[in-house]
Symmetry: C2
Subunit: 412 residues, 2 copies
């Protein structure tokens, strides 16, 4: 177990360093490291084969992904998000519906015999833009605070949220189908309501509760209290989300949204180095998040690409993922925004798509895995390809539109 | 799983806060929280019963104890330890041999039918002084750098090391006994050599390797590289220790000893907040170390104390633990040291005793657990009792000897 952990951590670092040197996102390197480790069997080294299904690594990766979603939530300011305006919301909604529909059609074209929920699941993996990758490109070009930048970032965040709701609905449909009840509009509506209600409830209760909890805790003297309370809230909400039939990551995300600087200022002041929650969670994420991505890579069976139809399916999915997000430009209503840049900025899929694929690989429908080996390999390859294509294209378009206008476009 | 984690973290915090307020060490509070959670079955609440043997919690606790030993190793400066001198070494050796012999005799008196290695294991849990507790008392009284303080701290550290070697030997004897070979001096000698050789080899190779590795890594640009490399070294050495037939904690301790500030200065300079390894590991320890201690507490079966002989055995063990360390004063050869204070300062047992008890509960001899339920409960109670007794006694004696001499005694 400990040897496996050392291998995973070293592999993740090597892959990340390689990709960073090539100007690619580090997460891609961690995935690639996992693919290499998981497929050593192809060259006759079977020592690492058992790691793919190690329950210990799986638990650590699951906790890693909770930390990741928690930190995404932590970085978002709810009130600022509200102000990003209707353009982001429209862009996000278009960017969820169109790729999902295209993904559904591609999946049905390639697997006509499979049930509709499977197609919906494949479509769902195309929903969520990876906010990190476009954010990094925008930051490198100094365009984070441009109108285009704000629309893209806002939309990427909202489509994560929408994606979580879509996931809750589809997972609910699958569990319903396993119990013999067919999909109907009332059931879908109920699940949307439940997912939205959980998020809204967790946020409302969590905000109220955390403010009071942290104030109370401010009276107790103890080192590490801030981190311990945040961890407890994170795990409690993840558990509640699971108990409510949602993915635990929804709870982790809500926990991150709930915690705001103001609530724990008193605890932070007492810390000898005045560390913020983000700073406290960073080492935890450095430890466990790569475990998740390496494991995701390890579960890609390269030999699955040898099966007839799988390379074509992968390519078709990737095209659907790219084309689907180009419709996003239509959702822009704010002035001074480069619609083409918005479409390109929404291309990269990342963490959330992989998380969905992982959840799909863990669900069964009529005794069969919802996302099987070849399907899983295709989704992971789609994520890797969009992540490879997007940064250079996005940078090129942003530079071009800046030249065309002279200065960065005016904000709203 | 996530609900259990939230429960464990909240329980640990509440227990720690309570003990802190009462002036007791926090680790005691975490143990007590575990005892409460693990024994809710006594009042009819059986929801938490399954947590005691949850493999997920067990893994997290195991990683937590690796982090703990790593940080102990990190705080030690090998060259400074060498300079602490022969008094600490003698005090440590006496403080390992005498309590172990007394523990052996107590265990044999209460369980005459049990094999000798079991008595040796019980004796081994009495070896290691908890450096943290006496260090905190010394710091509160401003006596850390007195002659008495340095002898106690040096000896507490050395007896951790000796304890790890004793553990390696006894675990080897048990595995030998399971394979039918009886204990003989040659086998014991071999195991001592192997344990010492592993520590020395890991330290020598690790120092050389980590210096070069970190220099090489200094050329790669990547965030979080320092922490990732340290984690990889920690897990790799833990795994190697396990592969060499030693406890993984020996490897974690060696990894901590190996890493010194100078080696990774370049990486630390690149960190945006210039964090040291200690600062980077602190959040990891805050997360996982309490999981270990709560789990240790959860495994104490309070109803075991109802069995005839168990309270008496606990009391006898505790007396052996206290008396045994009083012999330590005889090892003092440096001038200006209060021999009685040294004996009292060595009383608290802590982490290492609990770790040994946990390992003993996991080993089997002729199909029977080496440390069974009542034995485990007695050892944990002994640790808790010594931790309760020692701080007030030590503070009283230190104040008295300071009054008697006027000023703190001169250093060597």
């Amino acid at each position: 177990m400990f040897g496996a952990l050392a291998l995973v951590l070293v592999g993740a670092r090597l892959g990340a360093a390689l990709c960073r040197r090539l100007g690619l996102p580090e997460v891609l390197g961690e995935l690639l490291a996992g693919i290499v480790i998981g497929n050593l069997g192809l060259i006759g080294l079977h020592a690492a084969d058992a790691l793919r299904s190690s329950p210990g690594l799986d638990l650590l990766g699951q906790i890693g992904v909770l930390f990741l979603l928690f930190m995404v939530g932590l970085e978002l300011d709810l009130s600022q998000m509200m102000r990003v305006g209707s353009s982001s919301l429209l862009v996000a909604v278009v960017g969820v519906i169109v790729p999902m529909a295209l993904g559904f059609l591609v999946s049905r074209a390639f697997h006509p015999a499979a049930p509709a929920v499977l197609h919906a699941f494949v479509g769902a993996t195309l929903c969520a833009t990876s906010v990190g990758i476009s954010a990094r490109v925008l930051a490198e070009l100094g365009r984070t605070d441009s109108a285009t930048g704000r629309v893209v970032l806002g939309a990427a965040v909202i489509d994560d949220l929408l994606g979580l709701i879509v996931l809750a609905v589809i997972a609910g449909l699958i569990s319903g189908a396993n119990h013999g009840s067919g999909p109907n509009l009332a059931a879908i509506g109920l699940m949307v309501v439940r997912a939205v209600a959980f998020l809204a409830g967790a946020i409302a209760l969590g905000r109220w509760g955390s403010r009071h909890l942290f104030r109370l805790a401010g009276r107790i003297e103890a080192e590490g209290l801030l981190l311990a309370l945040a961890l407890a809230l994170l795990f409690a909400l993840s558990w509640l989300a699971g108990a409510a039939g949602l993915a635990p990551i929804v709870g982790a995300f809500a926990a991150g949204l709930v915690l705001e600087d103001g609530h724990y200022q008193q605890l932070r002041d007492r810390d000898p180095r005045h560390r913020s929650l983000h700073q406290l969670f960073e080492p935890l994420a450095t430890f466990l998040v790569p475990v998740f991505f390496v494991l995701m890579g390890m579960r890609v069976d390269l030999s699955a690409f040898l099966a007839p139809g799988v390379p074509a399916f992968t390519l078709a999915l990737t095209v659907a993922a790219v084309i689907g997000k180009q419709a996003c430009g239509l959702g822009v209503i704010a002035p001074g925004v480069d619609r083409i840049a918005v479409g390109i900025g929404m291309i990269p899929r990342g963490e959330v798509g992989l998380i969905f694929a992982g959840i799909g690989a863990g669900l069964t429908l009529a005794g069969r895995r919802v996302i099987d080996g070849p399907g899983y390999a295709a989704v992971v390859a789609m994520v890797a390809l969009t992540t490879l294509i997007a940064p250079p294209l996005f940078a090129w378009r942003l530079r071009r539109s800046a030249e065309g206008r002279g200065a960065p476009a005016r904000g709203r």
